[in-house]
Symmetry: D2
Subunit: 378 residues, 4 copies
């Protein structure tokens, strides 16, 4: 009989849906796991919406005060899907209560806010992970395997961008449940913490530490109506951020993110160029990995478009048959599966809070570099 | 309270998984539906495997004799996921027992075998549908909407292919649970009933009736070990099939399918060329629709790569946010949702058994044309 | 000192330009050749236009009667760029006069008309070639090399299409200098002789003989104003043609051509699927060859997009540096270079008239098959 | 009768070939021009190679001392194709001799070296242009037209890169005729002056002035054998360079270039994101322009792949028919045509020396920024 891991979900927005779906599907597709998540309770401030979410997704109960949720004996793991400004308080309390903690990314708004979270989970000795879900796109995991195999040789370049276009309209307000990502108080930063944090997490995973950065940020729309105050207020977030950097392995990095790139919805791409081979990937076509291998015979050498749907490619034996693709949401199923497996093995489930702290440090250095127009060490 | 539709699933192979997933997920993503499927029972011949499937997917019970399943009062709908040779017998019995019937495609091995199925469901007056799931890829449904809007004008050409490469190895046996698709007795035909049937169903839906066909088939590997008999036996299926045809609207059609196209796993593509616009689509990148509109300003006219992930595109408001893709399995969730909605509305859920009969007729004409080396009317 | 090959060009239309450009550029890029073409004379019916063409392109003289051109002692080679209905008469006369003959494709309107041309050049023993220029796209020549290397193994499938959209407008007239391709009397056939002839030539070159065919043709616009008569007349050409066939090597072939595929300007594509590898190519992106090799390591196996601009790829050492592409017109430079080299070597320059006769036979069989709605042997 | 512009070419390397081809072809394809270039003389240091080049390309004469070439009365225009370190001296002397001056890019090694060149041509009042040839790729010129039409609205982002992989091999020497681009003394800089200069020229043309920059450079291979000295010497050039910047119009810029991006031969790409539309382009597929227009109907909105081969697109009426592509070398034909037309019109032919000075200033600021690890104003 599978061991039950009783989940208490805090927040029922977009990420609440993706995580819930992950919990509900993992058993169907990863039957070998010896534990299974149980949707024990969801917590939100607005009772009717919280209750409706619980009913739709099959949570056994709901709470409107996260402190009560944490206090419950029948909760094994607390999953934090709130806006960024609440991550720290909830996570620390949950850890102190001895709960496992799964936290949506970024860890918090700043390194300063993140550090006590790391200390809390480590002091409590509770399993913890951060939902940098893109690591678990099969193509991205395959990129990791290829790099670790040594196929690329010495690395020269890493570049990534995350381009969106959803905030070009200056009439879009900031703040509130739907648009807290535009509100600096809730989000901490704009594209840096929201989008570049993903790029940085992947980059560190694939290419190692970033040592120093030089950045520029821009806020194209300076003022927006604030949903909570009803007034036009200054926009405090970065609409766009670009930085270049050095990695500890000697390679050069280049990162760009914006919400003003007309035509791109969620174009997260990365490319890594090594001495012998290169890899690139694009979230819009997430089942494909582009791979170039200089050791191929020269007359037929070219970028390979690898369709990642075969059973010998990461995670794919759990799904369908060759040629049949999966989508965005599967990354969360994979993270749940890996988290459960890590529990069975008594191993960490990366990225842990401590892993995510490094991303927070890079984000802080990036924002400081942009503010001071100077290079910053990480 | 949602009305329960108690499902009895016959067969627990690949299609048993896709359908089960459809039933389990529909409520989470289509909460507006007033009915919901309940996984009441699964039926298979081998008890231990059937039981294991029931446990993994959460079926309340299991049977090893489909007649018992059909006889149960607590089953509202019978879903047939067996090899093709069993579709007719099960479907007819289910209809006669007053059950709703959902049948995996193709309807049966031949038109002759299919016709009594149509008559049975119509005589019984039971809701029925056939799982030609590719109609419900959002991009394909959008293609239907665009065509119906009149944007294409008069149609000149329709072409489709379905290319695979998984049977090139001559050592692959035929027959048995895993490889019944290579066994003519179980499958009826090879690529014609398996793959071209999909292409034909979509084509008729998008472009209307096919009137006459001229076909060629080939069996590249003439003999294979038979899993059930243990002997090398003649291969009775078509490994490849090509046909051209006329549609009733005056356009020319071209279809090709094979399991010997090295490099293609499940490359189902179609293209339709109209007087004013054209559309094409490809299963390997199923979230994209290519669209060309001659009314665009000439200097910037080109094929548009439309990434189908926005809320105003078919089905997508039920899933994530723009840029975040879905996969193959979602087509089955969509079909379940549409089936449930059709029950609420008292309307048929296309393709019905009768709709699928037309596809069977085209398949029969194709196979006869190939056998007789002559044009055949449908 | 390079030996001069004095060219007499008959016809100064689109093909007259492409050939002239080929003659003028070959020396700059193939300096190792020991002979060089000289633009001795161009011949056309309309004196002022012929003279203007001669001046623009640097022909030393012009004629308005092709018989006079052929009679001139200072002409070594006659290059035929007229509409199809004049190919035979000019070519036969040129051969009888002992001239080398270069003939634009197709050889003539029919096999019957082509056969005496073959006999004439063979009887006269004069060098001859037909401008099926797409063989000499570097990517296509590379495909030939790859196939000959045995990388593909046994061939299962060959498919090609040539899709255009320029005659959709029913107001477009037929006939005359600009639109003789729509006039059956001048062209012989429609897309079959114009476009499919290219596809068939390449196919035979890459995959060997075609043994039998089953075809369908369509004329979507039944009547068009005739430029020469000023009257609305029946359209005698095929607007679209589809056929499937067997190759002598046991593979299945599939060909389609049309001028009614909205969105495609000159989309000539082919794909060949072998046991071990596959190749595909597309004229719109002619510097790329797609190559799939099943012997690649499975987790990183995919279609390679090979950018054919390196010095070790066919013809490319004569041009620029890696990454810098060439275009359509270079195919004609290559054919001139190969023709001159063949003269030096005393070898034929394929496709010869005899080679092109095989394409004519397939075209005839295709048109007969379509007319009689039956398979035809070639 | 066309007026003759007698060309004196200095240098016969790769660029000598591209320019010569431009001069020789322009008359065939731009017959409306009232002047035509004449290949009067080529100048090089090594007599036998210079003579051979003259014979191959049809230059009437040759020189081995560029001062003699400039002194000749029968030379109207001096075209400079030498390594960068000789540009200034030759150009200034040519201008002082009253010759028109066409100079290969970059103008010189530094702004300091470039400024007297600008002053010399302006003082002499001679026509002058710099061969930033990529402006005249039809797709790039079309981008300029689209931007000027106002379709993009306010610009938010401009990004470009130029990625190559040809110097990864550490055994490759530096210096000499073939590899002067790796020798800082001859080239001035590495990828900045060689590749980024192209990107900057296009960017300024399309998006206006760059005001300040923040850059990083890297030299991955620190020492290489020097061809001229025969000794292993320090590599003085930048192997890679990345910078971000502000444009005067308020948009953010991002540029990257390297010769260590395995898999890319000459991947020059740019993308510009405006409020209403975006454009991107890629040298490897130079006949295509990607265009996204937010005003398209939402359900069929997507990036358009525009194949630039139609007569109403820039330069294309001079070439073939829709669908038939041109290549890299045509950009030089276009520049010759535009230069000749500018002479007829008495107008400058951009980019002039003064235009190119702005690119030099940006390059200098980039290199200084990288050296000093600080933002630099241009």
């Amino acid at each position: 009989m599978a061991k039950e891991i009783r989940i208490g979900l805090v927040g029922y927005g977009f990420m609440g849906r993706t995580h819930s779906n992950g919990y509900k599907r993992v058993g169907d597709f990863f039957p070998e796991l010896q534990s299974r998540p149980v949707l024990q309770a969801v917590c939100g401030r607005t009772e009717d919406k919280t209750k409706a979410f619980a009913e739709q997704w099959g949570y056994k109960s709901y709470e409107t005060d996260w402190r009560k949720l944490i206090a419950r004996d029948d909760i094994d793991a607390v999953d934090i899907c709130t806006p960024n400004d609440q991550h720290a308080e909830v996570a620390i309390a949950a850890a102190q209560a001895g709960k496992m903690v799964l936290c949506e990314k970024p860890l918090a708004r700043t390194t300063q806010e993140s550090l006590p979270m790391v200390e809390a989970v480590e002091k409590a000795g509770v399993p913890n992970t951060v939902w940098y879900n893109y690591r678990r796109v099969p193509a991205v995991t395959l990129a990791k395997q290829i790099i670790e195999s040594g196929k690329l040789g010495k690395i020269f370049h890493y570049r990534a961008n995350f381009l969106q276009d959803w905030t070009i309209n200056a009439e879009l307000p900031q703040g509130g449940a739907a648009l807290w990502r535009l509100d600096a108080a809730a989000a901490g930063s704009g594209v840096t913490g929201d989008l570049l944090a993903h790029c940085i997490d992947t980059a560190i995973w694939l290419n190692g530490s970033i040592t120093d950065v030089s950045a520029v940020t821009e806020t194209f729309v300076k003022e927006r109506m604030h949903t909570l105050t009803g007034k036009v207020e200054k926009v405090g977030i970065d609409d766009a951020c670009i930085f270049h950097c050095h990695f500890a392995n000697g390679s050069l990095g280049l990162f760009e993110s914006t919400r003003y790139a007309r035509g791109h919805k969620a174009l997260y791409t990365f490319e890594i160029n090594g001495e012998h081979a290169s890899i690139r990937w694009d979230l819009h076509d997430l089942n494909r990995l582009e791979y170039f291998d200089h050791s191929d015979e020269s007359i037929v050498r070219g970028w390979r478009s690898v369709h990642i749907t075969d059973g010998d490619q990461p995670y794919m034996k759990h799904w369908w048959v060759p040629g049949l693709s999966i989508g965005y949401e599967h990354t969360f199923v994979h993270q749940v599966a890996d988290f459960l497996r890590s529990l069975e093995q008594g191993a960490p489930c990366p990225p842990t809070f401590r892993d995510a702290l490094e991303t927070a440090r890079v984000c802080d250095a990036v924002l400081k570099s942009a503010a001071e127009r100077s290079w910053q060490n990480v």
